[in-house]
């Protein structure tokens, strides 16, 4: 597994500077644009809707979780499909590494990437005074877990994908709607009543809630445990399925 991780890490070492710049710029633009820009409008007009904190403080942890989801999904789907079709998995298959090790190594690397990107995001949040202390560490782990909960099932599916446009389709029709219905930009309580139960089933909602309550310091043991259990189940379940689908594709 570590040798498979090592491959991805070698690639990353060539591009890490550029990738860190993106990791910092991305939240910076979002927090300035939406947090400060849209936030000024929200804070002036409807301050009661978001539990007495500034819109930026509400929005930032939601975006943290959603960004973790998006990064992890793209690497876990398009990245995996490419590696399985004509990339790293193909060159590693004739070596002693097993398909299961290739899956584990790649997922470990995706977790590492999400950790770095989320860390950069949280540093930017801290610079805006939106998070502080040990809560930041909790939110970092929460965001990473959110990423892995998406990457593992995505990888289990994508290792069998032969046409990259299928990844595009899933991104457009599954991942993008999750942004809207998981409380990223506004609280789920503002949605029509009948749609709320659906939101509570969405994995991103659990990621957003976990990161937001940790970041605002309002997390409860019970609440966080439920979110963590839900996300862990997705991550572990995804990995178990990936072990089967990886072998099916790489050792036909």
């Amino acid at each position: 597994m570590l040798h498979a991780f090592g491959y991805w890490f070698t690639l990353y070492r060539r591009t890490w500077r550029g990738s860190i710049v993106i990791n910092v710029l991305n939240p910076l633009l979002f927090l300035i644009g939406i947090g400060a820009g849209l936030g000024a409008l929200v804070d002036d007009n409807a301050p009661a809707q978001i539990a007495g904190v500034s819109y930026a403080a509400f929005f930032a942890p939601g975006m943290l979780a959603a960004a973790a989801m998006q990064n992890a999904f793209l690497e876990g789907s398009a990245g995996v499909a490419r590696a399985a079709g004509f990339g790293a998995y193909r060159s590693a298959t004739p070596t002693p590494l097993t398909p299961e090790q290739l899956a584990a190594g790649h997922l470990l690397f995706i977790a590492f990437r999400v950790l770095i990107a989320s860390g950069a995001f949280i540093v930017v949040m801290a610079a805006f005074g939106l998070i502080s202390g040990w809560w930041a560490l909790g939110a970092l782990l929460g965001a990473t877990l959110t990423g892995v909960a998406f990457a593992a099932p995505a990888a289990a599916w994508a290792v069998g994908v032969r046409k990259l446009r299928h990844v595009d389709t899933v991104f457009r029709f599954v991942i993008m709607p999750l942004y809207m219905f998981s409380g990223t930009f506004f609280a789920v309580s503002q949605l029509p009543e009948w749609i709320r139960p659906v939101s509570y089933l969405l994995p991103l909602w659990h990621g957003v809630e976990l990161c937001r309550t940790l970041s605002l310091g309002s997390a409860t043991i019970t609440g966080s445990s439920v979110h963590i259990a839900y996300l862990l189940a997705l991550a572990i379940g995804g990995f178990l399925v990936a072990r089967i689908t990886y072998r099916r594709r790489l050792h036909p």
Partner: protein, 325 residues
């Protein structure tokens, strides 16, 4: 190690792909037997889709067998895959090199997959880059290499673990003639050093150059086996006369030849006439004499060529089809 036992032993080896959607169940490999001895250079010759690559994948322990038995280096590929793969070198049809990394980095990463210490990889990489004539390219990105260089790098990469067997799946397909000859030369050196080679090819000249012994496969079955020389003497005549006719004369000429003494052997033991889309082949012990007979029949071919029989002719004799369409 496996005291005198063959490195690879296949008995009634079968690979069946289950039906998928509209495609029916498919027997890619349909009960084949063979053995490969240490130091031997063993070839699988056959057209595309004959089951060569599937057989190679089963030997490489990257595709489970469906039936029969297979031992590789005395081990069971189904249960000891990683241990077997640790001692094989595999050159796949597509090279799957990492374009973003340098030549040396590609070797390094690959060596790490075998858990080799970094210092060992460094030493071997230097030696292998010399062997593959890629020393000056060591620091270049793989993207910049030519097709022949890429293939040589793939072979160097497959040698990083000093394998007991080197598997090559169509090593020269898609290369220009000069690149092929350089590659053959490298493979011949390995053979001289006693490396056991197993290769698939649909090029007859390649099999004749590199293989001590080969099996000819078609539709997942073995149709003949032996050394290239043996196969040619058993299934073909010494000479082959290739004739081309004007299109409007071709059919009548072919018909005349087919009913002549040339087709039934005449003074030869097993002469034969084979009609191909673009030319007519006359198998004969003495090609010049056969050509004289053709002229005596007052046929006037546009071109006539007398050559030695090759494995291509063996395949044509056995299956009635050319290897390369």
């Amino acid at each position: 190690m496996v005291n005198g036992r063959p490195l690879v032993e296949a008995r009634n080896l079968t690979k069946t792909y289950p039906p998928r959607g509209s495609t029916a169940e498919f027997h890619a490999v349909d009960g084949i037997d063979f053995e490969v001895q240490r130091g031997e250079s063993f070839g699988l010759l056959g057209p595309n889709g004959a089951g060569k690559s599937t057989t190679m994948r089963m030997i490489a322990a990257t595709s489970p067998i469906s039936g029969g038995s297979l031992r590789v280096l005395g081990m069971d590929p189904m249960r000891q895959g990683p241990q077997i793969r640790a001692r094989l070198g595999v050159v796949t049809q597509d090279d799957y090199l990492d374009n973003e990394l340098t030549v040396r980095e590609n070797l390094h990463i690959y060596g790490r997959y075998f858990s080799l210490p970094r210092a060992v990889i460094r030493d071997r990489a230097t030696r292998l880059l010399d062997f593959a004539q890629l020393r000056e390219k060591a620091g270049d990105q793989v993207e910049t290499l030519s097709g022949g260089m890429r293939r040589r790098l793939t072979i160097a990469r497959a040698l990083i673990n000093e394998p007991d067997i080197l598997l090559l799946d169509e090593p020269t397909t898609g290369l220009d003639p000069q690149a092929r000859h350089i590659l053959w030369d490298r493979l011949f050196r390995l053979k001289q050093e006693g490396v056991t080679l197993i290769l698939t090819t649909h090029y007859m000249d390649e099999a004749e150059q590199l293989c001590d012994r080969l099996i000819v496969v078609d539709h997942g079955r073995i149709v003949a086996q032996g050394s290239p020389r043996e196969l040619i003497s058993r299934y073909a005549t010494r000479d082959v006369l290739e004739l081309r006719f004007r299109l409007d004369e071709r059919d009548t000429a072919a018909e005349k030849l087919r009913t002549s003494a040339l087709a039934t052997g005449g003074n030869d033991t097993d002469g034969r006439v084979e009609l191909l889309p673009d030319r007519v082949l006359v198998y004969a012990a003495d090609g010049e004499a056969a050509l004289a007979t053709v002229h005596a029949m007052s046929l006037t071919p546009l071109t006539a060529l007398v050559r030695r029989a090759t494995l291509e002719d063996v395949f044509l004799t056995l299956t009635g089809r050319s290897l390369i369409e």
